[in-house]
């Protein structure tokens, strides 16, 4: 049964990825183009060395903004869809009692918050030209570390939440569990260093629009994944009850 759920998770992830790509193309690409235009105007006016300016393009903007974006978003979404299906397979009948569609929706909402929203509050998505190339190593480490903290906090909060629910009921127990998660990630977010690397003159509006687009892509992807996978999984599970792998 796990294998069949995994395949379906990846296929639904692929569909969700195509929808997210459409959103990214319409709402995200104009922001990337503007940011690159800003970057180029800066490097022309500063003109530090000539080696950097005439760097040959390895991949054209045309390819980056179409096939490159499509490949990146769809591979990301299909992979997360597969991992999502594995978490779903584990959670089914173990966590919550809301049926497959309810579980899928709940897990997708949690994944959006835990994997994107919370780490993104500390280290938000940045357009080209925001971010010092010299700190990429440190920023990458801290980004993934924050992601790890968020996932670990969610695991702790869920296992503690089950005890809270047993002792103080579903509503209050769930609130306590969520509160525990928020306390842990808030402390981590407070302690983690921040980077102030937007160059002088970079449009605040452009930065805002870029980040809203980045959030929108994830909302589209997780909504599609959570709702479509739930329906697909429920059909599969009801047709094959009890399971024989």
């Amino acid at each position: 049964m796990t294998g069949r759920l995994l395949v379906r998770g990846m296929l639904v992830g692929l569909i969700a990825g195509l929808l997210a790509f459409g959103f990214a193309k319409i709402f995200g690409e104009p922001q990337i183009d503007s940011a690159i235009a800003f970057e180029e105007s800066m490097s022309h006016s500063h003109s530090h060395g000539d080696a950097e300016e005439e760097e040959p393009e390895l991949v054209s903007r045309e390819v980056q903004s179409t096939f490159g974006l499509l490949t990146g978003v769809v591979a990301y979404s299909a992979s997360l869809g597969g991992i999502f299906a594995l978490v779903f397979a584990f959670s089914l009948g173990r966590i919550g009692n809301v049926g497959p569609r309810g579980l899928s929706a709940l897990l997708a909402l949690s994944a959006f918050v835990v994997l994107f929203l919370v780490p993104g509050m500390v280290y938000p998505a940045n357009p080209p030209s925001v971010g010092d190339p010299d700190t990429i190593g440190k920023r990458t480490q801290l980004f993934f570390l924050m992601l790890l903290v968020s996932v670990a906090a969610a695991v702790i909060a869920i296992s503690a939440g089950r005890k809270f629910i047993a002792s103080s009921g579903l509503w209050n127990g769930a609130i306590k569990g969520v509160a525990l998660y928020l306390v842990i990630v808030s402390i981590a977010g407070f302690l983690f260093p921040t980077f102030n690397e937007a160059p002088d003159g970079f449009s605040a509006l452009l930065l805002w629009k870029f980040r809203v687009a980045a959030v929108g892509i994830q909302v589209v992807m997780w909504t599609a994944l959570g709702l479509i996978f739930g329906a697909v999984a429920e059909r599969l599970l009801l047709a094959n009850k009890p399971y024989n792998a």
């Binding site: 796990t2 995994l6 990337i32 390895l58 397979a89 990458t140 993934f144 994830q218």
Partner: protein, 70 residues
């Protein structure tokens, strides 16, 4: 909680045994995380392959999906 009863009618689905999940989780999970690594971080701070082609190809996706890019 009257409504919760109606969502649960004939959807009492048993848990999938851990022995069935584990092999898929290990092999599938690792491969899928590797795929995410290539979209999100390859040829940025760390690199498996030399050059910048992977980085440049998924460049726009990496920015818009919120990974540190360069």
């Amino acid at each position: 909680m009257a409504y919760s009863a109606s969502t649960q009618t004939d959807i009492s689905i048993p848990a999938i045994p851990l022995g069935d999940i584990l092999p898929w989780a290990i092999f599938g999970g690792l491969l899928l995380m590797l795929a995410i690594y290539f979209v999100g971080a390859e040829q940025g701070a760390v690199a498996v392959f030399k050059g910048m082609y992977v980085h440049e190809f998924v460049h726009d996706g990496r920015h818009l999906l919120g990974f540190p890019c360069h």
